[in-house]
């Protein structure tokens, strides 16, 4: 089932990339990034069946980083919303020049 798992992981990652590129809501873009992290986790787990349990250890690390990223990112989104009253990325163009 290794090949199927890797194909599924690639498909989910691609869906996540397309979501990041098509949406403008910052929170949904964050969720797409979480989907991409999940896809990579799936390939880690699939390969750990073949190469030993270290892959599963790295899945735990990835989950920790995802949790930290979600906490900080959502705090940033709340701070932006407080200034601009919007989480639409088209409205946040301070650095566009």
């Amino acid at each position: 089932m290794l090949a199927e798992s890797l194909a599924l992981s690639a498909l989910l990652f691609t869906i996540g990339v397309v979501g990041v590129l098509t949406r403008r809501n910052a929170i949904i873009i964050f969720m797409c990034v979480e989907l991409m992290l999940n896809a990579v986790n799936l390939s880690f787990v699939a390969l750990s069946q073949l190469y030993g349990a270290s892959g599963q250890v790295f899945v735990i690390f990835v989950m920790t980083v995802a949790a930290a990223e979600a906490a900080v990112g959502l705090a940033i989104i709340i701070a932006i919303f407080r200034h601009r009253q919007s989480v639409n990325l088209e409205d946040i163009n301070l650095l566009k020049g």
């Binding site: 089932m1 090949a3 199927e4 890797l6 194909a7 599924l8 690639a10 498909l11 989910l12 990652f13 691609t14 869906i15 996540g16 397309v18 979501g19 590129l21 098509t22 949406r23 403008r24 809501n25 929170i27 949904i28 964050f30 969720m31 797409c32 979480e34 989907l35 999940n38 986790n41 799936l42 787990v45 750990s48 069946q49 073949l50 190469y51 030993g52 349990a53 270290s54 599963q56 250890v57 899945v59 735990i60 690390f61 989950m63 920790t64 995802a66 949790a67 930290a68 990223e69 979600a70 906490a71 900080v72 959502l74 705090a75 989104i77 709340i78 701070a79 919007s86 989480v87 639409n88």
Partner: protein, 185 residues
């Protein structure tokens, strides 16, 4: 694949959960409401937990449900509802035709790359390591032992740094999210 190593029960559930995961992911990126999108993403994560169990990673499956579906997505939903993003003026956030075209092209390019990589051979070093890998998941210590041993021996420094990362993230989140009053500094 349908070979003799995997019984029909196993393959059927593997394809079933894989199909549900892909369908839920597609629904997730196309929903307009952030709450509906988050719910479909939770569905993807449950399906991935089931796939982890099928791939002999029962502990990761449990952690997936507890941490991802239980904690991270709840934080997302909490923020969506805190900011009150459900109302219709915020709904149509999907980009115009140019953005969709770019996304479609990038998606097709990624898929083509995956197809090409799928036909490639693994490098010789990797296949050698696979032949020598004897750490089977069902060793002594049950399901958790084979994960705990490398986590607390080989990767102990990374594990401790993880706690520092979480502490920094929590402090950073509180500092960034705090409401600044004019006389508070």
């Amino acid at each position: 694949m349908g070979n003799e190593f995997y019984p029909l029960f196993y393959s059927f559930h593997f394809y079933l959960f894989g199909l549900i995961a892909v369908a839920s992911a597609l629904l997730f990126v196309t929903r307009k409401s952030p709450v509906a999108a988050a719910m479909w993403l939770v569905n993807v994560m449950f399906c991935l937990a089931a796939l982890y169990v099928l791939l002999d990673a029962q502990f990761i499956g449990a952690i997936q449900v507890l941490v991802y579906a239980g904690a991270i997505m709840v934080v997302f939903l909490f923020v969506v509802m805190l900011l009150n993003l459900g109302h219709p003026s915020e709904m149509s956030d999907i980009r115009g035709n140019a953005g969709r075209l770019t996304a479609g092209l990038v998606g097709l390019a990624l898929l083509a790359e995956v197809m090409v990589l799928g036909r490639a051979e693994f490098p010789a070093q990797l296949t050698l390591a696979a032949a020598q890998a004897s750490q089977r998941i069902d060793g002594p210590g049950g399901v958790i032992g084979p994960i705990a041993a490398p986590l607390f021996k080989q990767h102990l420094l990374a594990f401790e740094l993880t706690s520092m990362l979480l502490l920094t993230a929590i402090v950073g989140a509180v500092v960034i999210g705090k409401k600044r009053t004019p006389d508070a500094r």
